[in-house]
Amino acid sequence: MKQKLKIGIAGLSLVLFSGLAWATVNAESLSALKNMSLEDLGEVNVVVAASKYEQKTTQAPSSVSIVTQEEIKLYGYRTLADVLASLQGFNVSSDRNISYLGVRGVSLGDFNSRVLLLIDGHRINNDLTDSAEIGNEFLLDVDLIDRVEVIRGPGSVLYGNNAFFGVINVITRKAQQVNGAEASGQYGDFGAYKFRVTGGKSFTNGISLLLSGTYFDSAGPDQIYFKKFNTSSLNVNNGVAQNMDGESYGSFFGSVGYKDFALEGGYIRRDKVDPTAPIPDTFNDPRARTVEDRSYVDLKIKHEFPEIVDLTARLYYDRYDIKNGYPVPPSDPDFYQEVQLGEWWGAELQLNKKLWEKHMISVGMEYRDDFKQSDQLFDSNNNYYPPTLRSRQSYGVFAEGDFALRDDLHFNGGVRYDQYGDFDPSLSPRLGLIYNPFKKSTFKALYGTAFRAPNFQEIINSSYPGPSIQTPETINSYELVYEQGIGQHLRSSISGFYDRMDDLIVFEHGSYNNFNADSLGMELALEGTWPQGVRTRASYTLQRTEPQNLPSGEIFPNSAPEHIVKLNLGVPVVKENLFASLEFQYTSSRHTFYADIYQNTLQGRDTPGFAIVNFTLFSKNIVKNLEVSASIYNLLDESYADPSSRFHLQAKIPQDGRSFRVKATYRF
């Protein structure tokens, strides 16, 4: 703690006293800028989230990826999980109920609580499991995404809790971008269909308004086979889950803007049958289902006091509830339902100040009140059990700055102090040096820290039978990044990271324990965009995580793969009208840790590595205002499975084979 404090104070004084400039242009890039054609100027990118203010990607103190709406259409992405699965270093898996995100060599079967997910800067992780929900359970229809910004590495310096391995900021399309109405319909394998209607307009009196609604329904595969339930000792329906993969959701999103004010809100209700019979469920019983409601409203005020400061303030209210059905083997009562509810509100204030035209300093504060967290069990005999209730208040303050020590050398530093509920306070510093020796070469040396406080679920489940988990987990991360532009249209990067993680909260042996672990990894990436519309991305990730001082007999249940390869290629077939895209993803073998009820222990085993290929044809304006696409996912029909979890008896969860989707969107 003391050492952290020292580092924090050092960082803060550097931020406050180091003097020079946020020089955006040097003489060399100036002439290049001058000579850019009008067409090229219109293709230049800028980025927002890494420092909570606008910054170009090469100057951000992180390794950043951006996926735009254009690419979402081009590659036929159905969910945010599809988008993230295409990015370097991300490993997405599914247990056929929710999607899990593994990153930086860590996949511990938690509910994505180590990545912070934002919609337009609003925190989406819920307050029960801290889940960042990315599959169909994600609150926003992917069609409403303008772009997804992924900022790798610890981000607690700005965002506090959960920004452990990275921050994903989803920017929504604005009313003026929609500028009219859209109707969209899609149909795919397993009887999956989706409809969406969106309207957006910016009125002359200064008000802009966007409203959108979506309905999705999928019957799922008729039959899913699990060998575990077709053995001599355990045979239920010969191991076949019959019509057990149904899913539906309805969602709504709206935003209103007027002058400095932006009000937005969203709602989703999702209903999913779970074919995997997590413990203690009876296999092949459709009452094993999850119904989730997630909603929020967020008011943002952004005001510029010229010459003084830019101010952003935010006030929000969020709600999440989840009902899990547990059919249990013939007994009385034969069904339980667990209802969890969370409600919270919060306020944020941030001030950005540019000094002498060039420096940028941000200070901010945040207050949050998780005023309702409850968990209650009901059974089919109308008994209800006493609820477990919690609440907590938290606050954080931070300061961050970016300075050009020389024209080609930036220093970025900041620190954040968080008091999260009753836990020990967390101090999260970040330091970065960004060096541009040549106009197309960037070197970054980054040190970042982050924390994650135990969440409601972990607290209530760890208090029985053991003592409740009391310590926030922490990460210290060291990263080196080298980015190099190659010619006009290619960018490449290489990065290496070393993460030291302490007190990771991990479920094992029926309770939560603390583990220490180290990760080491390397990423290579190449990205190209050509004016004719050809675009490509390629990446390779090598990563390994080792537990430290593991007590004998304990297992560190990490399911991260060691190798990840991603290749994406999109090409125009008919200029401006028809595009074809191909996507390749390879994931090496992963450990799976599942439950063995007879020994109450986790078992280790491997799911083999696999490769999948997705193919999409996308057309626009062949008929004016109409976009049509056709996709085939898992084109080669690779048979593969994802690791299961500590809640499962089976070792693997089989995934879908080849499937198709067609989609049409019309603009009025």
Binding site: T24, V25, K439, S492, S588, G604
Partner: protein, 197 residues
Amino acid sequence: MNCPDTKPTVAHKADGHSQPIQWLLVCVWLLLAGNGWAAENPALAEYQVKAAYLYNFTKFTDWPATAFASVDAPIVIGIVGDDPFGKTLDDLVKDEIVRGHPLVVKRLDPKDDLRGCHVLFICRNEKDQLPALLQKLKGTPVLTVGDAGDFAEMGGMVNFVLVQEKVKLEINQAAAEEASLQISAKLLRLARIVKTN
């Protein structure tokens, strides 16, 4: 496609913070050497791009001869309001001559006489004053440029809009023609044409 891993199932090592870093350092990067390093980086700050656009506007707009006192009189780029460009714009146009006219940048107050400008960038913080400013400039050959929401719909001539983190253009062609300004087809082709509401 399967790639079986030879690693034993749960055989994680429990030793301290040892070995690794070598294979990280081994990653010396010998990707494409040579002459590929030349052209411009694809990502820049927003106002660098906008400054480059302003510079380009001087090349792709025709002013009536009466807009210049002499054949070598400067093209004046005015900025009214809280200047977001810093030194970028000045550095960019320094020593530049477009069709015989040197380029000059001037910072102005809304109360100044703005009619001496050829290009006038109206900053976001002057949004409330916009109708009055445009009214004052009516009929004079000043190319008005802005980046506030519905700038072009309100009668401004060129508006910068951010679309998928790229800076795109909206042009109110009628407003420009009313001011006797001829915007080249090359520029119009890249813009969304809007009308005054």
